[in-house]
Symmetry: C2
Subunit: 465 residues, 2 copies
């Protein structure tokens, strides 16, 4: 097959940009041998044309003038690696209007302005490819869109932020407290100087918005997602949860709400009448949330350590599928970017993009399950005065809110100020009831600091039979 | 987007055929909403048109006359689910010659006659899609071809036969011996009445031939693959290996031979001069093998239990990626078949198929690394007479063959006939030396039965930093 030349322009020459430039240059022969496509890096745009980079470009490639890229009609593909949502949005719109297909890793932009960008692409007969936006090098987006196309996706549970996972892993394995683990992550480059968007769950929410829109077929807005970060997680709770058989992860969760309400088996491959009725009646309700989650230690996601990512997906036909790999970093992200460049150049991205029929946001706004209606199990820790009757009081408040206790843990000996930590776990309970109970508990004289409450997520493992 | 009608014909109406019929019928609306494609099952061909099936077809769909499918020009896609290599090959050729694209799960056929079928497809301007042929519902083929297209694949380690994994899992967890575990697997439907091709490694070799050809870019022949099955595995060895920190799996392994020779780190993301030189000098040598393998218990593949499949892939840019899911079964396999039907109907399969540039077999025959040259670690168990001097004799034979002992295990007490099991593990050693040593050991008067030898595979985990 004759080689086809594909000219690519990059906007943004930071870490990932260098990775992309390196891959395109060093692997051009291998990619041509594999795909008949001869990738050529024609233009790299960055405001900083002076700083030394890890990759040396041929003379004349690096420029601070984006018009060099926009005006060159021989360049078919523009890769936006600027990040952020302001300049990046304008750049993507300009690339599309200049008739170029866009490849990007910019999850924040897609999560916030995805619909606008998609419409612009459709209008201009172009496509946007964004495999690199979620879970870095793991081909999760094509996995869902193509590999699982025949499935109704019923649920997904993802560890999609490497920074949080690195911090929580170290808090667990090294018994570090949050500030210590964060500063260590920053020192080693696993966390940004400003880590806000990672640790407050915002970055995971961006990725969930993208993954859920593809998995469930709806335009998803960021507001649809309930978000809680890991900033206030204490190593004590990781430790107590660990004693009770749980491991703490920041999960991005998307579920058909009937499942969220039952929060149990996904009825995999169930064909019973009842299961199908339930599924159809409730099929349009979706629960979307990012929060610290206690999961069983023997769940497959519990062993995903450090900065790695993994996503477990439950499909109606396939059952459980899990993808695991590096969620960030120069070369893993570049791997996904260049895979997209190849897919765009082959024409497959355009086809997939044209056929991506997301149901419009304005028809589905009411279909997001509110967090108050979530039914799940909870881990609750109270710092209680070490005196008679405390357990009775706590039990009474929980009972008044119809919350049933599943497990309890109280170590002997005292903590600060004559207090002891009392931990209970609950059976599946509606969030609103737990919220009410926590308020009542907080008012008790015997409870000395705000109760800690962490959701327990019982991810079903797809088992034999 | 206007719906496009896609008429599909099935050949073979067994378990997977029923799953495909069920998915196409029940999920037609969902698939149309997602892809704008309206799938229609136009014709199902099977020699048995009488037996009751799990799925009810509309009248007139089921026939025993394949010409009804071949002669119907409105049917674009033919799905071959007959299995085996004789009739199935003729059916696929006829479908292609009749101008239909082919979707298949037939790994045996592809592994043996893939090149002939591919050529026929190219000649007729058609494509063959075969996602379901490897690891059932896991989208591993599109993962490698599309998602990891920018990577040089350096190694893959796969658990790709659910029957063997189910048997080995039960031998490990329930301390069953092979015949017992096999008959249990047959009783529960995890093994065929004739399980030969599963347990002798043949089925895994078929899948490895397909995966390796895509990952490494060469036409691979079945003869290129060294195959050893699990028929002679004893629970004793699983137990002794377990005590030494290993878990036994039947692995399908494809490695660039420079890695096989070193059998250690894959030098992930290494950019040192030395690493690159090694890689380029040896890049064309490939080691392909299926054999029982002791892997570290904390490796991610060790926790893949029962009939599940998983494949770990090491790419030059992405590092380690792992895919996990159901490798067989009615609906998981149907999930992959229907995903392929959608991909074919969108036109993406044809593009990918046209651009699949495998280097021809006749230019690469010499490039397969012989098993004798494999350097790996070994587990060796001897049944030795319980008398002085045995360890010295064994040590002498190993030393004469330049084999260095890495660990040893001998329990107190005697086995049958006054013998004791003596287990040693070796440092990385060339296979040919171990083969020679085993022959010499077998000749010793003090060794009472043929030595057992199982390869230890040190799968690197891609770690931080």
């Amino acid at each position: 097959m004759a080689e086809k030349k594909v000219k690519v322009g990059l906007v943004g020459f930071g870490t990932v940009g260098c990775g992309v430039a390196k891959l395109i240059t060093e692997e051009a022969d291998a990619i041509a041998a594999k795909t008949s496509l001869r990738l050529e890096l024609a233009c790299v745009v960055d405001i900083d044309t002076q700083s030394p980079r890890l990759v040396k470009l041929a003379d004349g490639i690096l420029t601070n003038d984006i018009n060099r890229l926009l005006d060159d009609d021989t360049i078919q593909i523009g890769v936006e690696l600027v990040g952020g949502t302001d300049a990046a949005k304008q750049i993507q719109l300009k690339l599309l209007e200049a008739g170029k297909d866009v490849v990007t890793a910019n999850k924040a932009l897609l999560a916030e302005y995805g619909n606008e960008l998609m419409h612009c692409a459709h209008k201009n007969g172009r496509c946007i490819a964004f495999e690199a936006s979620c879970a870095g090098g793991i081909p999760i987006i094509s996995g869902i869109r193509t590999g699982l196309a025949a499935n109704e996706i019923r649920a997904m549970y993802g560890i999609v932020n490497g920074t949080c996972n690195y911090i929580l892993s170290n808090m667990t394995s090294k018994n570090e407290d949050f500030p210590e683990a964060l500063s260590q992550a920053q020192k080693l480059g696993y966390a940004e100087a400003d880590p806000t968007l990672d640790i407050n769950g915002g970055d995971s929410a961006h990725k969930l918005a993208i993954l859920a829109s593809i998995a469930f077929g709806y335009e998803i807005a960021l507001d649809d997602i309930f978000v809680e970060g890991i900033e206030s997680i204490s190593k004590d709770d990781i430790c107590y949860g660990g004693e009770m058989g749980y491991c703490l992860k920041l999960l991005a969760i998307g579920q058909k709400a009937s499942l969220a309400a039952r929060d149990s088996s996904h009825g995999l491959q169930s064909t019973s009448h009842e299961a199908r009725v339930t599924r159809h009646e409730a099929r349009e309700k979706i629960s979307l949330r990012v929060h610290p989650s206690f999961i069983a230690k023997d769940n497959r996601l519990a062993s995903v350590d450090g900065s790695f990512n993994a996503v477990s997906i439950f499909g109606s036909a396939v059952g459980q599928v899990m993808y695991y790999g590096r969620g960030a970093g120069m070369m893993p992200t570049a791997s996904a970017i260049v895979a997209d460049i190849i897919d765009v150049a082959l024409g497959n991205s355009a086809t997939t993009f044209r056929h991506l029929c997301l149901k419009p946001r304005n028809q589905t706004a009411a279909l997001i399950e509110k967090i108050d209606n979530l039914v799940t199990r909870f881990y609750i820790r109270l710092m209680a005065k070490d005196q008679p009757g405390v357990f009775a009081q706590v039990g009474k408040v929980l009972a008044e809110n119809a919350i049933s206790i599943s497990g309890a843990l109280q170590h002997e000996g005292q903590g600060p100020d004559n207090t002891v930590p009392v931990v209970v776990t609950t059976h599946p309970t509606r969030q609103s009831k737990v919220t009410a109970a926590l308020e009542n508990l907080d008012k008790l004289d015997t409870i000395c600091s705000r109760p800690v409450c962490i959701r327990i997520v019982d991810i079903p493992e797809d088992k034999e039979g």
